[in-house]
Point group: D2
Chain length 335, copies 4
């Protein structure tokens, strides 16, 4: 039984993570933290979990967390996350970080997109990007795993195999993503007020969303050629789910069947990627750790469509998948 702590347990990803871990036969949640001063019961923070786990959210320091837990899931905001993790790691626990802090390899890129210096830059390059479908072997051996962003997961799973196989060009890739509102977090904001977000559809962060360098990096690394995508996220009036429509140029004459065949070959043994012939919808994966993906060729352009549940495969589910790999459990346990 692995003792587990969750830092920053008030958000949506943490709620989903707790729900998943409560059904995990090898995990025992022993600490939940918040940076607020009161110590609310879990059931008051997340009413859906009322009566399922008798724990308070506490304001704990790294030493206390390390004492109580073997594995720490860190759901803090960027920067705050690295500040804690650099204290935690020398004390022994293994860590899955939900923030963006250890996803990028390069400190300068981080500074450019996040507008501040990285609190633990030395550890960036060596930390594995926790997408099991691409980096499973490194995850297994890691003390620290950077859980991927939600948009990047949906994008990379569709494109990386095609870049790797040389079927599409690394140049001119357009990533048009659409996400449910839970991806924007739990803090009330004017544009997320129900009567504003409901019955509304919008683009945001055009050309400036922080998931961009993360997509660039992994596609470049895995495809073997420097890649810069044009990334446009959009907000969909629904709770959860991401659909990414990506447009790329074929690297050679190719049809949809060949692309689907490559994707099916690449993911043949993967438990959580389903390459489908039809057009997947976000509801096909709601509440699951699956990524469904398909591809078409339209007027000489490759169009891939991929869907995930942003809170599961895009956050908490991926974290549990990484946890399973790190501790040698069946990768699908509790998923």
């Amino acid at each position: 039984m692995v003792r587990v702590a969750i830092l920053g347990a008030t958000g949506y990803s943490a709620k989903e993570l707790i729900r998943l871990l409560l059904a995990h036969p090898e995990a025992k949640i022993t600490a939940l933290t918040t940076r607020q001063d009161d110590q609310p019961n879990l059931g008051d923070v997340h009413p859906v979990l009322r009566g399922r786990l008798d724990l308070k959210l506490e304001n704990l320091d790294a030493a206390e967390v390390a004492k109580r837990a073997d594995c720490v899931f860190c759901c803090l905001p960027h920067a705050a996350s690295a500040e804690v993790i650099k204290e935690l790691l020398p004390l022994g626990p293994r860590v899955v970080d939900f923030s963006a802090d250890y996803r990028l390899n390069d400190a300068a890129t981080y500074t450019k997109w996040y507008d501040h210096d990285h609190p633990d830059a030395a550890r960036m390059a060596e930390t594995v990007y926790g997408l099991p479908e691409l980096y499973r072997e490194r995850i297994v051996k890691s003390q620290l795993v950077a859980n991927p962003g939600c948009y990047p997961t949906s994008t990379i799973l569709a494109l990386a195999p095609l870049l790797k196989a040389g079927l599409i060009s690394a140049d001119g890739i357009i990533v048009d993503s659409k996400s449910g509102v839970s991806g924007a977090g739990r803090t009330p904001k004017a544009n997320l007020h129900y009567p504003e977000a409901n019955e509304n559809f919008s683009a945001y962060g055009v050309g400036s969303h922080r998931h961009t360098p993360e997509i660039d990096q992994v596609l470049s690394d895995f495809g073997g050629k420097a890649t810069e995508v044009v990334f446009t996220p959009h907000l969909v009036p629904m709770d959860r789910g991401i659909l990414t429509t990506a447009y790329s140029m074929p690297a050679k004459a190719i049809d949809a069947a060949a692309i689907l065949a490559e994707l099916k070959k690449f993911y043949a043994t993967e438990p959580f990627v389903r390459v489908v012939d039809g057009l997947p919808t976000t509801k096909d994966v709601t509440g699951t750790n699956y990524c469904d993906v398909t591809a078409r060729v339209v007027r000489g352009r490759v169009v891939t469509i991929s869907v995930i549940d942003n809170l599961i495969k895009g956050a908490a589910g991926a974290a549990v998948q990484n946890f399973n790999l790190m501790y040698g459990f069946d990768e699908t346990t509790a998923l």
Copy 2:
């Protein structure tokens, strides 16, 4: 042409009011106010109105408002509203007040439900409750009209004629109302954050909602017998619309046909109440100033069902209807 000012123009009711008045051939909006210090353009506050009216929202005092406008629509919160109106009235303008300040006749009742003394108590009893279907003649002659609450409008229009005709008892009336989220206003709150309110249904203010004494008062006044209702409002995951299901005891043996006949007779010449045989839905009245109402008898209990658009018949539309009456325009103008 009547020069019109709108005080507190940032909210949803004000937005709807501006939209209606822009199509009114006899109204000209000459002032919009906000209590904030910056002076935003209307189009920045309400993007849907961009380019339709070139006005800033200004922080104006009563004297300036009175100088610019013949009629003032006051969309301020309770208490703040009465504070301004008692300054405005002696300066001449006629006023339609969206707040609850002048709806109740009795200062003690106001204090009990609103937790503070009324700023202008002397004017309470003499001010007409602006529901044209019940008080048209008084509205026509009034300098100040108290625009009704949204829940009370939907409730009173269904029950008042039946009380008046002696068809139902004034005792034991239960009012179970359901409202879209715009009724809760534009200020972001935790429970109105999109991922909290979406796909969710809840009761709130059980036994304590401030529309209760307003319903009591009008039903008592119109029915001629002291009435206290049990009122339970609920929040529906949609932008707008109220449906009220009310349960009352018949005062004598009666069937649904007789109740419907009474309602049809009562509203025979009303332009904005449609007594229907089928079950009305909120979407039947979305974007309109209509109230649709029907009735059934179930196991000896009278069940009435009524629907309005909370922002129109429940707020801005009623205000325009009152405005039309006050100035002698056709009552349906711009509605």
Copy 3:
């Protein structure tokens, strides 16, 4: 390991049931049926289950079902369900019936509300109503269990303990329920077409909904006095969830604290009923087998508010709970 068949596996309740049973360590799904002629794969019928269970939906007769399964979950429409079940039972399997066929004890009542004679009337009176919180002991020993309706579950769990304890009167109970759209089933209909049901709220089946006699019967049986409720169901623009607001007369002078205390006492050891002090929302129980319930006293009337997920505690979860009881598994397994 119990071999399980699911009859009528195309609907929403069946989808939810399959999802739950796939995580049940003691159940193995061995047959899925449809009355259609083609034999679609499960993943084509319910894309979210793609790749999780390699079974076709087949058109099987009772004998074949009995051969393949120890326990049969019957998700067929009323009448069709009893027709199959009366064939199945003599062949040995235990059965959980999702339809209304065996919920009522009285054939005449059934005929009155369902407009046809009962196909297996002799078995009605002896069949247990599968609400574990009220009838656990009988469920444990039954070959056939009538899984409760969704509205009745939400209603009965709030009111039955109060009737039993003599805190409320059996007369004049009003049940105002609100349900998400999945409760209306998977068949496309004009009023459930997205642009009709979205942003809309409506009452339906006023005075005629078939869950009425079911509520009457259980409240009468458990409260010990003939009870006829006024029941009004409403449609909420959301996928799932029921909130029931019930109004009853106290049988003696009583306050909310005493009612809450009685509910807490009654449900003290129940794993799936949470008596809460605050006002529960449907989202507090979404995706769970919980019923959250609270109570207030408003102007001398008892107001209870209860919420369930209509597809789980109101259907598939209740069925799994019954299954666990019937086979001696921990009652919370897979829930």
Copy 4:
């Protein structure tokens, strides 16, 4: 006063059109048709219009329509529309056609995308595409106007000025559009059943949507160079609104400011296109005839974002705008 007939008055576009025309001081609706045999009242077909117009929907032939109306709005499906219109035109009425029948100039293209021969091919090339912002002068003089498709309107208004000005290349344009569900029409379908479409986001018609050749044609015509777009429509869980994100290559070095300047210049005197600096959302135009559009340059790619209400600027509003032009009324009347 122009006497107006609406053919095929049961759908969402017709409902919106009737609503707009009821407020038009120069239009009088004199006939509504349906191809069904019963003759329902308008209020039964569209409850929101109950009591607003006392007309039945009738099954009328062309001769009768021509007798009753000066102007005919045809809301019939493609092919059915041309069949009626070719009979109507010789009888005298002017016609605004909502279908796709007269939008394309080329019969072979029509046959390729619509899978049948055009019933009135000779009239295709001469019929004006009813987008006033591009073809106002021809509309004014036309007996028949082809009202544009909703997706094309949102796409063309963003891109045509940039092509015309030579700022973007005609090659490699990607059009990623997202539409509310009303665009799919009023006929219930499995994928538009509320519990399927709600909380779901999907792509559809990838590479095969019939609005593709319409976009191609107008961009080619207006830009002066053959253009073939990659067009991907998506379904958003909301009633109405389209947002189109289009990606194109600059034809020369250019920044966002220059593109916005060009758009502002082009639309300087247009009443219904608002070029905005911020990112527009669909709710900014809900219920209006506006198209809001903006542009960015991201990593060397031009990204335009445009929004319309698909039922107004994308259908009924455009039709009224055309009607106003055809009859010499102020172009904004009733809009």
